[in-house]
């Protein structure tokens, strides 16, 4: 048998030992890859949320807070509806410092065709909207007709299919890209369609608490403040001067989410660091014990003519083989947990969660693979160095 085949023979002839070391490396690799992928997904979600929110200030009726949690509704897609007179939009547009203002109207379906959960329908004005329309334009280049719908990425209906809302057949004409935010579970349409749906809902006896004409109501006004103006002053002005509405700064909402994300991210980084240190020490300890047990074997090899360099090379090869196998298995296991169950992780964390693209995932996997290989090699380097100073004749004389 050739000497270079010896490390692989050592691994296969001691399956228990090889399995134990492989599992150790696999845990490290799993923790590194799964943790990194989750942290990247949270960061992507936050970036996407900041980019998609677009508005500096949101104005809602004062009754909105008693009906729904505004942060959850606007950021996480919790279903809800509330209405105010559409003249609020005109009042807001007249305020100094307001660059753009656009209204949205919300409606919650009681039941979609297939599911027992309500779907949030959001009416936008395509001519003035600056929060959703840019993303709709990317997915669907044409103007939206009456009863046309654009669905979020997590609404599982095919483009071209019909969605029946309050007995009105609406055509799904496009789908938004995934954002990792509440936008993914909503359905978007024009204000004209929204007013028809509101009338249909009222016609079916649903009490939407609309006083007056359904064509003259809106749910929220999204405001973009001029660069030379302050969102705080616009926000305060609205709260003081416009009656029956409440103005909310989106920066405050984002701060809440970003604080939550920073907390989750830090906890995960500490956990990965802890697992890395623990696994590193365990690998060193395991190699030390194994090499101590195998001193006689190494002494015999030395007596048969193997140089110290050859013995060190053998340990390196054994370690590298274990690290390659363990890290590949760990990465595959992490892929099987993080990617398919991304929706569940998002739900449990309650934070914007947008998984990285294939390119970034490959980079993360490569980084994890190299990191684990380096950790294993450094851990075995110390033991290999000790081994090179072993006095073979003394070990053979003493018998251990």
């Amino acid at each position: 048998m050739k000497f270079r085949k010896l490390p692989f023979r050592n691994l296969t002839k001691k399956p228990g030992r090889t399995a134990m070391l492989t599992v150790l490396v696999m845990i490290l690799s799993f923790a590194m890859f799964a943790g990194a992928a989750t942290i990247f997904s949270l960061r992507n979600g936050m970036k996407s949320l900041e980019a998609r929110l677009g508005a500096d200030v949101i104005v809602v009726p004062v009754s909105a807070k008693s009906k729904v949690n505004l942060d959850e509704m606007l950021l996480q897609g919790t279903v809800g509806y509330f209405y105010m007179d559409s003249d609020v939009l005109e009042k807001v547009r007249e305020i100094d410092g307001v660059e753009k203002a656009s209204a949205q109207t919300f409606l919650a379906t009681l039941r979609a065709d297939c599911c027992s959960i309500p779907v949030q329908v959001i009416g936008i004005d395509p001519d003035t909207d600056f929060t959703v329309q840019p993303w709709i334009a990317q997915s669907y280049g044409k103007p939206l007709e009456t009863y046309d719908l654009i669905v979020g990425s997590k609404v599982g209906t095919e483009i071209g299919s019909t969605l029946r809302i309050y007995q009105q057949d609406c055509q799904v004409v496009g789908r938004l890209d995934s954002t990792g935010t509440g936008m993914d579970t909503a359905v978007y349409t024009t204000m004209d369609t929204m007013h028809l749906l509101l009338e249909a809902a009222q016609g079916l006896g649903h009490d939407l608490k609309i006083t007056g004409d359904p064509d003259e109501v809106i749910s929220a006004v999204y405001i973009k403040v001029k660069d030379d103006s302050s969102a705080v002053s616009v926000n305060n002005y609205i709260n003081v001067h416009i009656r029956k509405v409440e103005s909310v700064q989106t920066k405050n909402m984002l701060t809440t989410v970003s604080d939550g994300m920073a907390g989750a991210s830090s906890a995960m980084t500490i956990l990965i660091g802890g697992i890395w240190v623990l696994t590193f020490l365990l690998i060193i300890a395991a190699f030390c014990m194994i090499i101590r047990e195998r001193r006689l074997e190494f002494a015999v090899l030395r007596m048969l003519g193997a140089s110290r360099r050859m013995l060190s090379g053998m340990i390196f090869t054994e370690t590298a083989a274990i690290c390659v196998l363990g890290s590949v298995l760990g990465i595959l296991l992490a892929c099987a947990v993080v990617f398919p169950f991304g929706g569940l992780i998002e739900e449990k964390l309650g934070l914007p969660f947008l998984q990285p693209g294939a390119g970034m995932c490959i980079l993360l996997a490569a980084g994890t693979f190299l990191g684990v290989l380096l950790t294993g090699t450094v851990a075995s380097m110390w033991t290999a160095n000790r081994l090179s100073h072993v006095d073979a004749s003394k070990i053979l004389r003493e018998g251990n």
């Binding site: 065709d113 297939c114 599911c115 027992s116 959960i117 599982g156 209906t157 099987a336």
Partner: protein
């Protein structure tokens, strides 16, 4: 007659199929009946995959009990096909709920995907190993 010793891969396959079947009946379960007593689409997908997973667990147990290469190879081939069928049932053959945040999309489908792929790959490896063993006359 001396029986052959139990193979490690057979035990792993049995445990995987058992966890899959138990999982389908517990943590991978979809939503129950609606208020009006009717069921959502995903219920039928769940029932079909649960049936397949129980069948797979029984077949993998039979493979361990009989310890016969020919029968084992046949069962392994059927496990590969059943795992593929389980993979395509939720979503492709039987539609799931509309909202992808629901249990059927967030828990059942990914769970079936992970178990299905692992069992299909391991069973395929088992087929190759048993076929090679048969060729060597073991």
């Amino acid at each position: 007659m001396n029986k052959k010793r139990i193979r490690g891969i057979d035990i792993v396959l049995f445990l995987l199929c058992l966890v899959f079947a138990v999982g389908m009946l517990t943590f991978l379960k979809t939503c129950g009946a609606k208020e009006d007593g009717s069921f959502m689409n995903c219920q039928w997908a769940w029932r079909a995959v649960t049936g397949i997973s129980v069948l797979m667990a029984i077949q993998s147990l039979v493979m361990i009990v009989l310890r016969n290469n020919g029968i084992g190879e046949g069962i392994s081939i059927s496990l590969v096909l059943e795992a593929i069928l389980a993979l395509v049932l939720p979503g492709c053959v039987i539609p799931l709920c509309m909202m992808e945040t629901m249990r059927c999309h967030a828990i059942m489908k990914p769970g079936v995907m992970v178990f299905g792929i692992i069992i299909a790959v391991l069973s395929a490896i088992n087929v190759v190993l048993l076929h090679k063993g048969a060729a060597k006359g073991e």
